[in-house]
């Protein structure tokens, strides 16, 4: 098992969710995993996939090349970065002509994409590289809460490119939640998208989509929800009040970044995983 990764947080975590960055670093430290920061690398190119392919691939290849310089696999915390970088990495490794075209662009900024590393979401690192058993060994404060797990989309799909877990019936994040002592509850439409991607083009539809999932989670009587992507977290946590107003419905569901939950089970205080920054108030008593 590798215990060093290049670490990249992308834009949204940096701008909106420093508590996600903080809690990820905490749990990795507890697992003796060293993170080599390329955190201020900039954008992974995600949005450019729908604007201009060469711009997208060049932006993604630039970030990947930074990890290649460190001779380390690249660990990301955002499903958007995961989708963008895993797919660009695969596409460029498989297409020498595209790779050459991208390297012509990167030459201007003294960079080169070589195709020597893998890109991994931290959920993949935890589930495949570290393993649930090893994580359980570090749990000193087992939790007794009912959790609704939200995988998000680009952690799993498109499965042909991402090749992680079972895209249609995933278990990785559920098992990682259970490792904390908590239980992962079943709920309706678990794979439903958060809608964050279309916030800018159509907020009404995006809110309806998120509201539908919050309703399903509420109906299943979950104590809290966890996410593994800053976009999904913003939709369900930061936007929850607006969604409640829009849909005239109360949810009041705490939404944690997965490393916050894991961190608390490892003995960190709520403050040490930045829980006070979550918008829907989380009563720390539920973790006693």
């Amino acid at each position: 098992m590798s215990n060093r990764y290049a670490y990249f947080i992308g834009c949204t975590t940096a701008f909106r969710s420093p508590n996600y960055d903080l809690s990820t670093r905490r749990v990795m430290e507890k697992l003796n995993i060293e993170l080599v920061d390329i955190n201020d690398g900039g954008c992974c190119g995600f949005y450019y996939e729908v604007i201009n392919e060469l711009t997208y691939l060049s932006m993604a290849a630039r970030v990947i090349s930074m990890a290649e310089d460190e001779k380390l696999d690249l660990m990301v915390v955002c499903n958007g970065c995961n989708g963008s970088l895993v797919r660009a990495n695969k596409k460029l490794k498989e297409n020498p002509e595209l790779k050459q075209e991208v390297n012509n662009v990167l030459a201007d900024i003294d960079r080169e994409f070589k195709g020597t590393i893998e890109v991994k979401h931290y959920v993949r690192v935890l589930w495949e590289d570290v393993g649930v058993e090893k994580i359980k060994e570090k749990v000193s404060n087992p939790l007794d809460v009912k959790v609704a797990v939200h995988y998000g989309c680009h952690l799993l799909r498109p499965s042909e490119d991402i090749r992680f877990d079972e895209a249609r019936d995933p278990v990785s994040l559920d098992e990682l939640v259970c490792a904390t002592g908590a239980s992962s509850i079943d709920y309706l439409e678990k794979s439903l998208c958060c809608g964050g991607y279309i916030m800018a083009s159509n907020q009404d539809v995006a809110y309806k989509m998120s509201g539908r999932k919050l309703r399903n989670v509420k109906n299943a009587k979950a104590d809290l929800m966890i996410t593994a992507c800053p976009f999904c977290n913003i939709m369900y946590d930061a936007n929850q009040k607006s969604i409640e107003r829009e849909l005239e419905r109360e949810f009041n569901i705490p939404v944690l970044h997965y490393p916050q939950l894991l961190g608390i089970s490892m003995g960190y205080s709520p403050k040490e995983v930045g829980l006070e920054q979550n918008r829907v108030r989380v009563n720390p008593k539920i973790f006693k």
Partner: protein, 148 residues
């Protein structure tokens, strides 16, 4: 150029003609469910293949890839919609709701401007500072990504 040819010639366009309009994509599509199928990936594919037309509704895809996972004909529905968006941008410019992202990327290398406020908060939390970069702008200029 004929739109169909333009889509088909792209590396992501090879499954364009796999679709036989069964509608499974639309049955599982979150945007279709939220809009009573007013947003309809089956119709979008049909329209582009039969009529060679693109309309604004392509921007309502959430890129969740549920359609692509379920398609019995292995049509890369979501990838095709991303490709349609790129072709749309080529002929119609970048939609106004994406513009701010593009501007931020060009000015600082991130989709949002990470300023003093964010960095002060990071410092308080013991997190390393985020630094702006100009490399992204250079990439955008060189690849035509600024669409100017």
């Amino acid at each position: 150029m004929d739109l169909r040819k333009e889509l088909q010639d792209d590396i992501d366009g090879e499954t364009l003609n796999h679709c036989f309009s069964c509608g499974i994509c639309t049955g599982g599509c979150p945007s279709a469910i939220m809009t009573d199928s007013e947003y309809n990936p089956r119709k979008i594919l049909h329209r582009v293949v039969i009529e060679g037309k693109l309309e604004d509704d392509i921007w309502l895809c959430t890129n969740c890839y549920t359609c692509q996972e379920r398609c019995p004909a292995k049509t890369k529905v979501a990838d095709l919609i991303s490709l349609m968006r790129r072709v749309y941008v080529k002929h119609n410019n970048i939609p106004t709701f994406i513009k701010p992202l593009v501007e931020n990327l060009a000015s600082c290398g991130f989709t949002q401007i990470i300023g003093d406020l964010e960095n002060k908060r990071r410092k308080r939390m013991g997190l390393p500072e985020m630094k702006h970069n100009k490399e992204i702008k250079k990439i955008m200029e060189k690849t035509g990504g600024l669409n100017e």
